[in-house]
Symmetry: C2
Subunit: 188 residues, 2 copies
Protein backbone atom coordinates (compact mmCIF):
# COMPACT_ATOMS: atom_id res chain seq x y z
CA UNK A 1 0.00 0.00 0.00
CA UNK A 2 1.34 3.43 -1.00
CA UNK A 3 -1.06 5.94 0.52
CA UNK A 4 -1.21 9.72 0.28
CA UNK A 5 -3.31 12.06 2.37
CA UNK A 6 -5.26 14.59 0.31
CA UNK A 7 -6.35 17.56 2.42
CA UNK A 8 -9.13 19.43 0.64
CA UNK A 9 -10.21 23.08 1.02
CA UNK A 10 -9.13 23.66 4.64
CA UNK A 11 -9.13 27.41 4.02
CA UNK A 12 -10.41 30.39 5.97
CA UNK A 13 -13.27 31.05 3.56
CA UNK A 14 -14.70 27.63 4.47
CA UNK A 15 -13.52 27.44 8.09
CA UNK A 16 -14.19 30.88 9.59
CA UNK A 17 -17.74 31.41 10.92
CA UNK A 18 -17.76 34.95 9.51
CA UNK A 19 -17.40 33.70 5.93
CA UNK A 20 -20.32 33.33 3.55
CA UNK A 21 -18.99 29.93 2.50
CA UNK A 22 -18.57 28.68 6.11
CA UNK A 23 -19.05 24.95 6.70
CA UNK A 24 -20.61 24.42 10.13
CA UNK A 25 -18.55 21.33 10.95
CA UNK A 26 -15.21 22.82 9.96
CA UNK A 27 -13.80 23.10 13.49
CA UNK A 28 -14.19 19.36 14.01
CA UNK A 29 -12.47 18.71 10.72
CA UNK A 30 -9.49 20.89 11.65
CA UNK A 31 -8.75 18.69 14.65
CA UNK A 32 -9.05 15.51 12.58
CA UNK A 33 -6.97 16.91 9.75
CA UNK A 34 -4.22 17.91 12.19
CA UNK A 35 -4.05 14.37 13.57
CA UNK A 36 -4.12 12.84 10.09
CA UNK A 37 -1.38 15.15 8.82
CA UNK A 38 0.80 14.34 11.84
CA UNK A 39 0.26 10.60 11.34
CA UNK A 40 1.09 10.63 7.64
CA UNK A 41 4.19 12.77 8.20
CA UNK A 42 5.38 10.44 10.96
CA UNK A 43 4.94 7.47 8.63
CA UNK A 44 6.79 9.23 5.80
CA UNK A 45 3.68 9.14 3.60
CA UNK A 46 2.92 12.16 1.38
CA UNK A 47 0.53 14.90 2.45
CA UNK A 48 -0.93 16.84 -0.49
CA UNK A 49 -2.74 20.12 0.07
CA UNK A 50 -5.56 20.86 -2.32
CA UNK A 51 -6.82 24.41 -2.17
CA UNK A 52 -9.56 26.11 -4.05
CA UNK A 53 -8.38 29.40 -5.43
CA UNK A 54 -9.65 31.73 -8.11
CA UNK A 55 -8.08 34.27 -10.42
CA UNK A 56 -8.95 37.83 -9.37
CA UNK A 57 -10.83 38.25 -12.66
CA UNK A 58 -13.12 35.32 -11.83
CA UNK A 59 -12.68 33.56 -15.20
CA UNK A 60 -12.45 30.26 -13.35
CA UNK A 61 -15.28 30.70 -10.83
CA UNK A 62 -18.14 28.20 -11.03
CA UNK A 63 -21.01 29.60 -13.08
CA UNK A 64 -23.41 29.31 -10.13
CA UNK A 65 -21.18 31.42 -7.90
CA UNK A 66 -20.25 34.23 -10.24
CA UNK A 67 -22.66 36.83 -8.85
CA UNK A 68 -21.44 36.11 -5.31
CA UNK A 69 -17.81 36.33 -6.46
CA UNK A 70 -18.33 39.75 -8.03
CA UNK A 71 -19.78 40.97 -4.74
CA UNK A 72 -17.04 39.48 -2.57
CA UNK A 73 -14.09 37.81 -4.32
CA UNK A 74 -13.72 34.76 -2.09
CA UNK A 75 -10.76 32.46 -2.53
CA UNK A 76 -8.85 34.88 -4.73
CA UNK A 77 -5.42 36.05 -3.59
CA UNK A 78 -6.80 37.01 -0.20
CA UNK A 79 -6.62 35.86 3.43
CA UNK A 80 -9.78 33.83 2.77
CA UNK A 81 -7.78 31.53 0.51
CA UNK A 82 -5.13 30.86 3.18
CA UNK A 83 -5.13 27.65 5.17
CA UNK A 84 -7.11 27.77 8.41
CA UNK A 85 -5.27 28.50 11.65
CA UNK A 86 -3.43 25.46 12.95
CA UNK A 87 -2.67 24.05 9.50
CA UNK A 88 0.48 24.63 7.50
CA UNK A 89 2.21 23.14 4.49
CA UNK A 90 5.57 21.61 5.42
CA UNK A 91 8.61 22.05 3.22
CA UNK A 92 8.51 19.69 0.27
CA UNK A 93 4.77 19.03 0.45
CA UNK A 94 2.82 19.46 -2.76
CA UNK A 95 0.06 22.05 -3.22
CA UNK A 96 -2.55 21.57 -5.94
CA UNK A 97 -4.86 24.44 -6.88
CA UNK A 98 -8.34 23.50 -8.00
CA UNK A 99 -11.29 25.47 -9.43
CA UNK A 100 -14.23 23.13 -8.93
CA UNK A 101 -15.55 20.49 -6.52
CA UNK A 102 -13.30 17.56 -7.31
CA UNK A 103 -9.57 17.86 -6.63
CA UNK A 104 -9.04 15.93 -9.89
CA UNK A 105 -11.14 18.20 -12.13
CA UNK A 106 -8.93 20.29 -14.44
CA UNK A 107 -5.90 19.85 -12.17
CA UNK A 108 -2.67 17.86 -12.26
CA UNK A 109 -3.39 15.87 -9.08
CA UNK A 110 -3.63 12.52 -10.88
CA UNK A 111 -0.36 13.22 -12.66
CA UNK A 112 1.44 13.91 -9.36
CA UNK A 113 -0.05 10.86 -7.60
CA UNK A 114 1.06 8.58 -10.41
CA UNK A 115 4.58 9.94 -10.27
CA UNK A 116 4.72 9.38 -6.51
CA UNK A 117 3.56 5.81 -7.04
CA UNK A 118 0.47 6.31 -4.90
CA UNK A 119 -2.17 3.58 -5.01
CA UNK A 120 -4.32 4.65 -2.05
CA UNK A 121 -5.95 8.07 -1.76
CA UNK A 122 -7.02 9.12 1.74
CA UNK A 123 -9.35 12.13 1.67
CA UNK A 124 -9.83 14.68 4.46
CA UNK A 125 -11.20 18.23 4.63
CA UNK A 126 -14.44 20.06 3.87
CA UNK A 127 -17.11 19.65 2.97
CA UNK A 128 -18.27 16.06 2.73
CA UNK A 129 -21.22 16.28 0.29
CA UNK A 130 -19.40 18.58 -2.12
CA UNK A 131 -15.63 18.55 -2.56
CA UNK A 132 -14.85 15.49 -0.45
CA UNK A 133 -17.38 13.31 -2.20
CA UNK A 134 -16.55 14.59 -5.68
CA UNK A 135 -12.85 13.96 -5.02
CA UNK A 136 -13.43 10.48 -3.58
CA UNK A 137 -15.68 9.48 -6.48
CA UNK A 138 -13.06 10.60 -9.02
CA UNK A 139 -10.31 8.81 -7.06
CA UNK A 140 -12.19 5.53 -7.14
CA UNK A 141 -13.07 6.06 -10.82
CA UNK A 142 -9.34 6.46 -11.48
CA UNK A 143 -8.75 3.10 -9.76
CA UNK A 144 -7.18 4.37 -6.56
CA UNK A 145 -8.07 2.57 -3.35
CA UNK A 146 -10.06 5.33 -1.73
CA UNK A 147 -10.56 6.12 1.94
CA UNK A 148 -12.58 8.98 3.41
CA UNK A 149 -11.74 9.95 6.99
CA UNK A 150 -15.02 10.16 8.91
CA UNK A 151 -13.59 12.36 11.67
CA UNK A 152 -11.43 14.59 9.49
CA UNK A 153 -14.27 15.66 7.19
CA UNK A 154 -17.34 17.75 7.93
CA UNK A 155 -20.76 18.75 6.66
CA UNK A 156 -23.37 21.34 7.58
CA UNK A 157 -24.92 18.86 10.05
CA UNK A 158 -24.65 15.26 11.24
CA UNK A 159 -27.50 13.99 9.07
CA UNK A 160 -25.81 15.16 5.89
CA UNK A 161 -22.47 13.78 7.07
CA UNK A 162 -23.91 10.32 7.87
CA UNK A 163 -25.93 10.11 4.64
CA UNK A 164 -22.90 10.97 2.53
CA UNK A 165 -20.55 8.56 4.26
CA UNK A 166 -23.16 5.83 3.82
CA UNK A 167 -23.60 6.59 0.11
CA UNK A 168 -19.83 6.52 -0.42
CA UNK A 169 -19.46 3.24 1.46
CA UNK A 170 -22.03 1.80 -0.97
CA UNK A 171 -19.79 2.87 -3.85
CA UNK A 172 -16.85 0.89 -2.49
CA UNK A 173 -15.14 3.84 -0.83
CA UNK A 174 -13.75 2.90 2.58
CA UNK A 175 -14.88 5.06 5.50
CA UNK A 176 -12.41 5.05 8.37
CA UNK A 177 -11.33 7.09 11.36
CA UNK A 178 -8.05 8.98 11.51
CA UNK A 179 -6.84 6.69 14.29
CA UNK A 180 -7.39 3.40 12.49
CA UNK A 181 -5.97 4.80 9.26
CA UNK A 182 -2.80 6.11 10.90
CA UNK A 183 -2.41 2.81 12.78
CA UNK A 184 -2.65 1.04 9.41
CA UNK A 185 0.23 3.15 8.07
CA UNK A 186 2.48 1.98 10.88
CA UNK A 187 1.84 -1.71 10.28
CA UNK A 188 1.90 -1.46 6.45
CA UNK B 1 -15.74 34.46 -34.22
CA UNK B 2 -14.54 34.80 -30.60
CA UNK B 3 -10.78 34.25 -30.75
CA UNK B 4 -8.17 34.08 -28.00
CA UNK B 5 -4.41 34.16 -28.41
CA UNK B 6 -2.64 31.39 -26.51
CA UNK B 7 1.04 32.22 -25.97
CA UNK B 8 2.94 29.06 -25.07
CA UNK B 9 6.24 28.68 -23.19
CA UNK B 10 7.84 32.02 -24.10
CA UNK B 11 10.16 31.70 -21.11
CA UNK B 12 13.87 32.28 -20.59
CA UNK B 13 14.64 28.58 -20.28
CA UNK B 14 13.43 28.11 -23.86
CA UNK B 15 14.44 31.50 -25.28
CA UNK B 16 17.94 32.21 -23.89
CA UNK B 17 20.81 30.70 -25.92
CA UNK B 18 22.61 29.77 -22.68
CA UNK B 19 19.80 27.43 -21.59
CA UNK B 20 19.91 23.67 -22.09
CA UNK B 21 16.32 23.77 -23.34
CA UNK B 22 17.01 26.60 -25.84
CA UNK B 23 14.93 26.58 -29.02
CA UNK B 24 17.05 27.90 -31.90
CA UNK B 25 14.22 29.83 -33.52
CA UNK B 26 13.02 31.52 -30.35
CA UNK B 27 14.20 35.01 -31.24
CA UNK B 28 12.06 35.00 -34.38
CA UNK B 29 9.10 33.85 -32.32
CA UNK B 30 9.52 36.68 -29.81
CA UNK B 31 9.06 39.26 -32.54
CA UNK B 32 5.99 37.47 -33.91
CA UNK B 33 4.48 36.97 -30.46
CA UNK B 34 4.95 40.68 -29.67
CA UNK B 35 3.05 41.65 -32.81
CA UNK B 36 0.31 39.09 -32.17
CA UNK B 37 -0.13 40.19 -28.55
CA UNK B 38 -0.36 43.84 -29.61
CA UNK B 39 -2.92 43.01 -32.29
CA UNK B 40 -5.15 40.96 -29.97
CA UNK B 41 -5.00 43.59 -27.25
CA UNK B 42 -5.91 46.33 -29.73
CA UNK B 43 -8.90 44.27 -30.89
CA UNK B 44 -10.01 43.61 -27.30
CA UNK B 45 -9.51 39.85 -27.75
CA UNK B 46 -8.09 37.84 -24.81
CA UNK B 47 -4.40 36.99 -24.56
CA UNK B 48 -3.72 33.94 -22.40
CA UNK B 49 -0.20 33.17 -21.22
CA UNK B 50 0.62 29.50 -20.83
CA UNK B 51 3.84 28.84 -19.00
CA UNK B 52 5.55 25.62 -18.14
CA UNK B 53 6.55 25.56 -14.54
CA UNK B 54 7.53 22.82 -12.12
CA UNK B 55 7.36 22.35 -8.40
CA UNK B 56 10.81 22.58 -6.80
CA UNK B 57 10.50 18.92 -5.76
CA UNK B 58 10.04 17.84 -9.37
CA UNK B 59 6.94 15.69 -8.73
CA UNK B 60 5.42 17.09 -11.89
CA UNK B 61 8.43 16.92 -14.22
CA UNK B 62 8.07 14.70 -17.30
CA UNK B 63 9.53 11.27 -16.66
CA UNK B 64 12.03 11.69 -19.52
CA UNK B 65 13.43 14.89 -18.06
CA UNK B 66 13.78 13.96 -14.41
CA UNK B 67 17.53 13.34 -14.44
CA UNK B 68 18.11 16.68 -16.16
CA UNK B 69 15.82 18.43 -13.66
CA UNK B 70 17.73 17.04 -10.68
CA UNK B 71 20.93 18.40 -12.18
CA UNK B 72 19.51 21.81 -13.00
CA UNK B 73 15.95 22.59 -11.87
CA UNK B 74 14.74 24.36 -15.01
CA UNK B 75 11.35 26.05 -14.98
CA UNK B 76 11.00 25.89 -11.22
CA UNK B 77 10.56 29.14 -9.30
CA UNK B 78 13.59 30.63 -11.00
CA UNK B 79 14.46 33.29 -13.56
CA UNK B 80 14.37 30.55 -16.21
CA UNK B 81 10.62 30.29 -15.74
CA UNK B 82 10.08 34.02 -16.30
CA UNK B 83 8.79 35.34 -19.60
CA UNK B 84 11.49 36.24 -22.10
CA UNK B 85 12.63 39.87 -22.35
CA UNK B 86 10.17 42.00 -24.28
CA UNK B 87 7.11 40.04 -23.17
CA UNK B 88 4.89 40.84 -20.21
CA UNK B 89 1.48 39.87 -18.92
CA UNK B 90 -0.89 42.84 -18.86
CA UNK B 91 -3.25 43.43 -15.95
CA UNK B 92 -6.29 41.20 -16.17
CA UNK B 93 -4.71 38.68 -18.55
CA UNK B 94 -4.96 35.03 -17.56
CA UNK B 95 -1.92 32.84 -16.82
CA UNK B 96 -2.23 29.06 -17.03
CA UNK B 97 0.54 26.86 -15.63
CA UNK B 98 1.16 23.58 -17.41
CA UNK B 99 3.38 20.55 -16.72
CA UNK B 100 3.49 18.78 -20.08
CA UNK B 101 3.52 19.49 -23.81
CA UNK B 102 -0.09 20.44 -24.41
CA UNK B 103 -1.49 23.54 -22.73
CA UNK B 104 -4.70 21.54 -22.22
CA UNK B 105 -3.12 18.54 -20.46
CA UNK B 106 -3.94 18.49 -16.72
CA UNK B 107 -4.73 22.23 -16.72
CA UNK B 108 -7.85 24.37 -16.54
CA UNK B 109 -7.32 26.07 -19.91
CA UNK B 110 -10.40 24.52 -21.51
CA UNK B 111 -12.50 25.57 -18.53
CA UNK B 112 -11.34 29.19 -18.83
CA UNK B 113 -11.83 29.32 -22.61
CA UNK B 114 -15.40 28.03 -22.29
CA UNK B 115 -16.20 30.64 -19.68
CA UNK B 116 -14.82 33.39 -21.92
CA UNK B 117 -16.99 32.10 -24.76
CA UNK B 118 -13.98 31.47 -26.99
CA UNK B 119 -14.55 29.47 -30.17
CA UNK B 120 -11.24 30.10 -31.94
CA UNK B 121 -7.85 29.25 -30.44
CA UNK B 122 -4.85 31.01 -31.98
CA UNK B 123 -1.55 29.42 -30.91
CA UNK B 124 1.84 31.14 -30.74
CA UNK B 125 5.12 30.39 -28.95
CA UNK B 126 7.74 27.65 -28.81
CA UNK B 127 8.40 25.12 -29.96
CA UNK B 128 6.37 24.02 -32.97
CA UNK B 129 6.87 20.23 -32.99
CA UNK B 130 6.34 19.87 -29.25
CA UNK B 131 4.13 22.19 -27.24
CA UNK B 132 2.63 24.15 -30.11
CA UNK B 133 1.58 21.06 -32.00
CA UNK B 134 0.33 19.20 -28.92
CA UNK B 135 -1.72 22.26 -27.92
CA UNK B 136 -3.14 22.77 -31.41
CA UNK B 137 -4.08 19.10 -31.74
CA UNK B 138 -5.91 19.17 -28.40
CA UNK B 139 -7.64 22.43 -29.33
CA UNK B 140 -8.99 20.97 -32.55
CA UNK B 141 -9.97 17.75 -30.73
CA UNK B 142 -11.96 19.91 -28.31
CA UNK B 143 -13.78 21.46 -31.29
CA UNK B 144 -12.15 24.87 -31.24
CA UNK B 145 -11.37 26.48 -34.57
CA UNK B 146 -7.60 26.30 -34.40
CA UNK B 147 -5.01 28.58 -35.93
CA UNK B 148 -1.21 28.29 -35.61
CA UNK B 149 0.76 31.44 -36.33
CA UNK B 150 3.57 30.52 -38.74
CA UNK B 151 5.71 33.55 -37.88
CA UNK B 152 5.07 33.59 -34.13
CA UNK B 153 6.18 29.99 -33.57
CA UNK B 154 9.60 28.42 -33.94
CA UNK B 155 11.47 25.16 -34.25
CA UNK B 156 15.10 24.05 -34.10
CA UNK B 157 15.37 24.64 -37.87
CA UNK B 158 13.30 25.58 -40.93
CA UNK B 159 12.84 22.00 -42.11
CA UNK B 160 11.23 20.95 -38.85
CA UNK B 161 9.09 24.09 -38.82
CA UNK B 162 7.81 23.54 -42.38
CA UNK B 163 7.14 19.83 -41.88
CA UNK B 164 5.13 20.47 -38.73
CA UNK B 165 3.07 23.29 -40.20
CA UNK B 166 2.30 21.07 -43.17
CA UNK B 167 1.26 18.14 -40.97
CA UNK B 168 -1.01 20.39 -38.93
CA UNK B 169 -2.59 21.89 -42.05
CA UNK B 170 -3.44 18.33 -43.09
CA UNK B 171 -5.26 17.88 -39.78
CA UNK B 172 -7.53 20.86 -40.46
CA UNK B 173 -5.55 23.33 -38.37
CA UNK B 174 -5.26 26.69 -40.09
CA UNK B 175 -1.74 28.04 -40.57
CA UNK B 176 -1.65 31.83 -40.85
CA UNK B 177 0.70 34.75 -40.38
CA UNK B 178 0.36 37.23 -37.55
CA UNK B 179 -0.51 39.98 -39.99
CA UNK B 180 -3.41 38.22 -41.69
CA UNK B 181 -4.74 36.97 -38.37
CA UNK B 182 -4.67 40.40 -36.75
CA UNK B 183 -6.26 41.91 -39.87
CA UNK B 184 -9.02 39.30 -39.53
CA UNK B 185 -9.70 40.44 -35.97
CA UNK B 186 -10.27 43.99 -37.12
CA UNK B 187 -12.82 43.02 -39.76
CA UNK B 188 -14.58 40.36 -37.64
Amino acid sequence: MRPALIVVDMQNDFCLPSSRLFVAGAAVAIDGVQRAVAGFRAAGAPVIWVIRQHRPGGEDVDRARQALFREQPFLASSPGADLADGLAVAEGEVIVVKRRWSAFFATDLDLVLRRLGIDTVVVAGVQTPNCIRATAVDATSLDYETVVLSDATASADDTVQAANLSDMANMGIRIATVEETVRGLATA
